[in-house]
């Protein structure tokens, strides 16, 4: 083997330095602040105080769970149908699907709120039709609706990518062997697309559990989730510490969930995936 040239050896160095300064170091600071009291001394008080926020964690997880399941139920069929279309149509639909992803979350969430608000478009239409107003904004349902609306494309895209890579002969084989369309879906498509499903779940669950804009606008600030709490703690210097502690716990929680989900994805690969 020849010796490494200069460029090969040092190409990654700027990146490593950048990573250390701006990825690793900030996280170190989070840990530092989490374990420090207001006066700068080492203390466990922040961690001890976390019990006060226990139910907020549970609430956030619940909201995120429901939103993820809804995204999955709505998104999987969409991805499946899309993957069975002609390639040209597929490509156009993919671009149409990506557009909302590239539009800022703020715009999408605020537009949804403006329409669903008590004095917004939906209610004006209902009133002109003689139906009473619906009170949506300020309810937990609105927050979940917001999460599903904002994150649906993130669920559909990985599943679609996974499904579109499937050899179409799998479906044909299943049909030849006598499986109905529904059975093909459940016994062939779903197991083979599991990696995409896991990816989609991760991409919806993580932002759902940490959002604050959606719960602020669509929930009216009445259901503070973890994201709202962290954002509030970081508005005042005196509460940075507890904010850091909450962030740390949330980060660990997410890491564990993602690790568990990846475990399932790997487990299936090794077995081939089709249930006989």
């Amino acid at each position: 083997m020849r010796k490494k040239s200069f460029i090969e050896g040092f190409a990654a160095v700027p990146h490593i330095v950048w990573l250390f300064l701006f990825v690793v170091l900030p996280l170190v600071f989070v840990v530092y602040f989490a374990f420090t009291g207001a006066d700068g001394s080492f203390s466990f008080s922040n961690i001890a105080n976390l019990s006060r926020y226990g139910h907020i964690f549970v609430l956030s997880i619940c909201f995120a769970l429901i939103a993820t399941v809804l995204c999955l139920l709505i998104g999987y069929p969409l991805a499946y149908f899309m993957s069975r279309l002609k390639p040209k149509t597929q490509k156009m639909l993919v671009v149409l699907l990506m557009l909302p992803m590239w539009i800022s979350l703020l715009i999408r969430t605020y537009s949804l709120m403006a329409i669903l608000d008590n004095g917004g478009l939906l209610n004006s239409l209902l009133e002109s039709l003689g139906i009473t107003r619906v009170h949506i904004v300020g309810t937990p349902g609105a927050v979940i609706l917001g999460m599903v609306y904002d994150f649906l494309p993130y669920m559909v895209l990985p599943i679609y990518t996974s499904l579109s890579k499937l050899d179409i002969r799998y479906y044909e084989a299943a049909n030849d062997l006598g499986a109905s369309n529904a059975k093909t879906l459940f016994k062939v498509a779903i197991p083979l697309s599991l990696p995409g499903v896991i990816s989609g779940i991760t991409m919806v669950f993580v932002p759902s559990i940490s959002t604050f804009y959606i719960s602020q606008k669509l929930g009216g600030g009445l259901f503070d989730l973890i994201g709202d709490t962290i954002e509030r703690e970081f508005q005042n210097k005196s509460t940075y510490n507890i904010g850091a502690a909450i962030s740390l716990v949330m980060m660990i929680l997410i890491l564990i969930s993602v690790a568990i989900m990846n475990r399932f994805s790997e487990g299936d690969d090794s077995e081939g995936g089709i249930i006989v």
């Binding site: 609430l59 619940c62 608000d117 004095g119 904004v137 503070d224 005042n236």
Partner: protein, 422 residues
């Protein structure tokens, strides 16, 4: 082909960048480098040229060019609570602000913590003589060294008369009336929210009695389930679009909302309410103190003070404004027929004056208590158990799914074992 398009896009972006920076470079004249004056004020609190009004900041820049022969750019940013202002100024984040406009109690706190520059307006600011005696030597600045009054106001209840029945109004308890569930807004800052509860319960808003604060918290917790949201400036859009029916807010802001929605009415609750004065000050760490004082002086001049008073619709502590006939005519005809009464009437009603309370700066212990209780309020979630039930169902379904697959896999394995052995 892809390369060409990407290159073209890049060039388009570069052009756009150049164009945006071009526009702003025009105004540099020969008065030297532009000095940037950083003004930090409440939102919607200055005549900004919207809707044919005078753009006060632009007028000041012109004044600096023509009269002071200086090239000045006003960098104007806003905050929505005194606590936000305090956090920003005390953190010393650069660039530091030159003019800030805190409320009376926050100014008192900043003076106590030596954060304000003693500008001595009686000596250094010409137009200070225009300020009405009622607003001089107030509790927060008895020696008149640090502050110059900007506006004066009261909090009251704004309600939509087409949704709210007349018999329900008059007191603070309208905000707790569950007939209007989902239509009520509450202040999104601790001082004002607790204040509302304290007035309702007949407490002193500056009390240091922990039990009283806890009682106020109980009231607020009682209120949370019937609210539509916690809001500050979002109130404007909500009331204008009739999305909400009841909101506690400032008298001056009521007029702004009334402009867009004539169904809205206003009253001062019978238990009493908060009265406040917003004052202009110069932080100790300001970069341009002399220019800051020029700005304050400019704001007190007759034309500008009237423009601001007409735009913001708050009561002005400036004598020249209250006595100006055109202003009175404008307020009565263009804004609201009872405008002068709503804004200035309280100062003439001796009984009600006693019921109004200023927010004083709270001692640290009470401040910490208030913030702690506010945190408790925010952490209250009145989620119906439905959400939790749905989640338990989901988790149970997932567990069942995995158990099934595990069982199926085990069975498959045993089948294969059977085949092997045969």
């Amino acid at each position: 082909m892809k390369k060409i398009i990407s290159l073209a896009l890049l060039m388009l972006i570069v052009c756009a960048l150049v164009l945006t920076s071009c526009g702003s470079a025009e105004e540099e004249e020969d008065y030297g480098d532009a000095i940037t004056l950083y003004v930090y004020n409440w939102g919607e609190y200055i005549s900004d040229g919207y809707d044919d009004s005078i753009d006060v900041n632009a007028a000041f820049e012109e004044y600096c060019r023509d009269v002071l022969h200086k090239n000045v750019r006003v960098n104007y940013s806003t905050y929505s609570s005194n606590e936000d202002l305090y956090a920003k100024v005390s953190s010393g984040v650069v660039p530091t602000y030159d003019v800030i406009i805190p409320s009376d109690y926050m100014a008192a706190r900043m003076i106590a913590e030596d954060m304000l520059e003693p500008i001595n307006p009686t000596k250094n600011i010409e137009n200070y003589e225009n300020i009405d005696e009622t607003f001089r030597g107030m509790y927060y600045d008895p020696d008149e060294m640090y502050t110059v009054p900007y506006t004066c106001g009261t909090i009251g209840v704004i309600y939509n008369s087409s949704i709210v029945d007349e018999e329900d109004i008059g007191s603070w308890d309208l905000l707790w009336n569950d007939k209007y569930t989902g239509n009520i807004i509450q202040f999104n800052n601790p001082r004002d929210a607790f204040g509302v509860a304290q007035f309702l319960l007949g407490f002193n808003v500056n009390s240091e009695n922990e039990d009283e604060w806890r009682a106020a918290l109980e009231k607020l917790i009682e209120q949370k389930p019937i609210l539509q949201c916690y809001a500050m400036d979002e109130v404007f859009n909500k009331m204008k679009g009739s999305s909400a029916a009841i909101a506690p807010y400032y008298a001056g802001d009521y007029f702004t909302m009334y402009e867009d929605n004539e169904d809205l009415s206003f009253y001062h609750p019978e238990e009493g309410t908060n009265i406040f004065v917003d004052v202009m000050c110069v932080p100790k760490n300001a970069g341009h103190k002399d220019l800051a004082m020029e700005y304050i002086n400019f704001m007190l001049s007759e034309e500008i003070a009237i423009a601001n008073a007409e735009y913001i619709c708050y009561a002005s502590p400036n004598k020249l404004v209250r006595e100006n006939e055109e202003y009175i005519e404008y307020m009565t005809e263009e804004v609201h027929e009872d405008a002068m009464e709503i804004l200035y009437g309280v100062f003439d009603d001796e009984d009600y004056i006693d019921k109004m309370q200023y927010y004083y700066a709270l001692p640290d212990k009470t401040l910490a208590l208030m913030n702690d209780l506010w945190e408790d309020l925010k952490l209250q979630s009145n989620i119906s158990t439905a959400i939790y039930v749905i989640c338990i169902v989901i988790v149970a379904a997932l567990v069942a799914l995995f158990v099934c697959r595990f069982v199926i896999k085990k069975r498959r394995k045993s089948y294969f074992e059977k085949y092997k052995s045969e």
